[in-house]
Structures are given as structure tokens and as C-alpha cells.
């Protein structure tokens, strides 16, 4: 199987380049793209990429695979079409080396939405209780692993990574907005109420298309807008 991989070494390269690799995969057998990359790294130890849990939970190995963002560890090579598998780093973020990108901008947006529960009421004797119905509202939101596949697939995030919170951050913002135990709903909404943070979303839906966990930031963003509208009335 042939691979074309984005290479960039800041010590020696002026510009990034694509390098071809070949890997023998036994007929009838399959492997995840991450396993293939690890095998290629044995051929060429200078190849750099991130990985950790190798089962789609840690979100370290988000890559642009044949033009679409996804996690290498849960992408079977048999599912990849074309003569060559083209592997590039996540789009829009500065490349540190090869397939490793600087996630600082992404994390800065995550930090902005205050990704933790805030409750200013008197602390209860034991714990904040939540009804099963209220807990169910968090499904499809809390599962985000912050792999950045969605935000780096989003054209609005490409052009304004410093001002637009991005699909991942907004999905997380809604996760705390809708949490029955959080008391900062109105100040959270006020934080997002400008031309960029939330409203740069144009409903392109690249985020929903690529999310390896099957989550839907577009819908979460729609819900935030509805909450904002309701608060404004």
C-alpha cells in the first residue's frame, strides 16, 4: 500500500513537502491507519506524529486523511480509497513538525468558554442532584474528546481561529449551558454574544461530517442561538 505523507522538519526544511512510503500489508488482512504509521516509523524513525490510547478515546491522532479529518487509530486502511493514502496534519493550525500541530489556538478557545461547572448556590450537604431527564440533555455533548477534527475542518475557524470559538468549543459551551446544575447560564450566553464567537458559524457542517464520535456541533450552536434569542425576548 502506498502512502504520501506531509513532512516538515523545522531544523532542516524551509518548506513542507510530501514524501512517499510503501508498506506491505498482507492480502486479506487489515489494520488501522495508526498501525500503518507506526510501521512506517520503523522504516523511517524521523517521521513524527502524536498518538496515545490508540482506540479513539484520547483524541491525539487527529489527521487529515485523504482530505478529510479523522482519527488515525479508528480509521481502517481498507476503508481508504485511491492509489495513495494522503496523510496531512490537521488543517489551519501551525505545524510543529510532520503531522504534529500546535493546538494552542484550539485550547485557547476551549478555555474561553469556561469548560467547568459553575454553581453559585449554597453548596448542598452531599452533591448536586440531577434528574435522569436533565442528565439525558448532556448526551451527545459530553463525549467530545477535543481531538480538534471538527474545528480544523471549519472554514470559519481557519479564517478566524483567534475570534471564532469553533465547533468543538461551542459544543462544550452548550454542554454547560444546558446543564441543570450550572447557574452561570446568562453570563455564559453574554460571553458568546458578539459578531465572532458564536455567529461566525455559517452552517457549513464540515464539523458534523468529520466528528469521529458522531457528535453534532451545528445543532448545539443552533440551540445556543435559540437560548440567546429566548433570553433577549
Amino acid at each position: 500500500m502506498q502512502f504520501s505523507i506531509y513532512r516538515y522538519n523545522p531544523e532542516t526544511d524551509k518548506k513542507p513537502r510530501m514524501q512517499d512510503y510503501e508498506l506491505e500489508i498482507e492480502a486479506g488482512s487489515d489494520m488501522m491507519l495508526l498501525d500503518a504509521l507506526i510501521a512506517l516509523k520503523e522504516q523511517d524513525p524521523t517521521l513524527a506524529f502524536r498518538r496515545s490510547c490508540r482506540e479513539g478515546v484520547c483524541g491525539s491522532d487527529g489527521l487529515n486523511i485523504n482530505g478529510k479529518n479523522g482519527l488515525a487509530c479508528i480509521t481502517p486502511v481498507s476503508a481508504l480509497k485511491g492509489k495513495k493514502v494522503i496523510v496531512r496534519p490537521l488543517p489551519g493550525l501551525p505545524v510543529i513538525r510532520d503531522l504534529v500541530v500546535d493546538m494552542a489556538q484550539f485550547y485557547r478557545q476551549y478555555e474561553k468558554i469556561r469548560p467547568y461547572l459553575i454553581n453559585n448556590d449554597e453548596p448542598p450537604a452531599r452533591e448536586h442532584l440531577q434528574s435522569p431527564e436533565d442528565r439525558a440533555k448532556l448526551d451527545g455533548l459530553y463525549e467530545c474528546i477535543l481531538c480538534a477534527c471538527c474545528s480544523t475542518a471549519c472554514p470559519s475557524f481557519w479564517w478566524n481561529p483567534d475570534k471564532f470559538v469553533g465547533p468543538s468549543g461551542l459544543l462544550q459551551a452548550y454542554r454547560f449551558l444546558i446543564d441543570s446544575r450550572d447557574t452561570e447560564t446568562s453570563s455564559r450566553l453574554a460571553d458568546l454574544d458578539d459578531a465572532y464567537s458564536l455567529f461566525r458559524c455559517r452552517g457549513i457542517m464540515n464539523c458534523v461530517d468529520v466528528c469521529p464520535k458522531g457528535l453534532n456541533p451545528t445543532r448545539a450552536i443552533g440551540h445556543i442561538r435559540s437560548m440567546m434569542l429566548q433570553q433577549g425576548l
Binding site: 496534519p89 493550525l93 472554514p155 457549513i204 458534523v208
Partner: protein
């Protein structure tokens, strides 16, 4: 040591889903409509006198003018259809992955159909 980090933003290397094709067409049609405003205003202004109306009519009956009129009207139709989809999505309709794909496909299909219809009407 190269301190200027490159960014992977080679748009030709990415594969875009139909929802983003529909979205960029919405943007492109909007820009073209905006650029066509002076032309449309000029035609309106010139056509306000009886003699001018006949003149504009004869200018618009040439092949290239018909093509430009067709292009502007087709862009307008696409822009309106895609805008209606945005309104529906704001109302929470078609926000799932399947719904979004269906909506985008429908918008493009309707856009092509109206463009053909407008062509038939003009020629």
C-alpha cells in the same frame, strides 16, 4: 531552525462534503449578486424613459446580454433557495448529518432546475 511554522491550508488537498459545496455556492452567488447591483440599477435607471426602455430592451436582447441576465437570475434563485434552507436550519430543521446532506443536495438540485427554467424562459 525555521521559526515560521507552516500551516496546512492547501484547499485543493481537502475533500469537501456537499454541505460545504452548497455553502460556498451561497457565498459566491451572493458576491456575484452584489457585483451585479450597479448593472441592474443602470438598466433600471435607463429604462425609466419611454425611449430608454426601448433601448435597454434592444441591448438586453443580444446573446451576451441574455447570458448575463440568465446568470444573474440563476444566482438570485440559488441564493434565495439556499437562504430558505438557512432559515429552516435556524428553526432546527435539517441539522442532523443526514438532514444537512439532504438539504444541501436539495438546494443544489433546485438551483439547477430553476437555472434551466430561467434559461427556457429567457431564450
Amino acid at each position: 531552525m525555521n521559526k515560521n511554522r507552516p500551516v496546512n491550508l492547501n484547499l485543493a488537498a481537502f475533500r469537501f462534503p456537499v454541505t460545504s459545496i452548497s455553502s460556498i455556492l451561497h457565498r459566491i452567488s451572493g458576491v456575484i449578486l452584489f457585483l451585479s447591483v450597479p448593472l441592474c440599477l443602470w438598466a433600471l435607471q435607463s429604462s425609466l424613459t419611454p425611449g430608454g426602455f426601448a433601448e435597454v430592451k434592444s441591448v438586453l436582447s443580444s446573446g451576451i446580454a441574455k447570458f448575463i441576465t440568465w446568470a444573474i437570475l440563476s444566482m438570485l434563485a440559488y441564493h434565495i433557495i439556499a437562504g430558505v434552507r438557512h432559515l429552516l436550519m435556524d428553526a432546527g430543521i435539517g441539522e442532523t448529518l443526514q438532514g444537512g446532506r439532504f438539504g444541501a443536495n436539495a438546494v443544489i438540485a433546485l438551483g439547477v432546475l430553476t437555472a434551466v427554467g430561467i434559461g427556457v424562459w429567457i431564450w
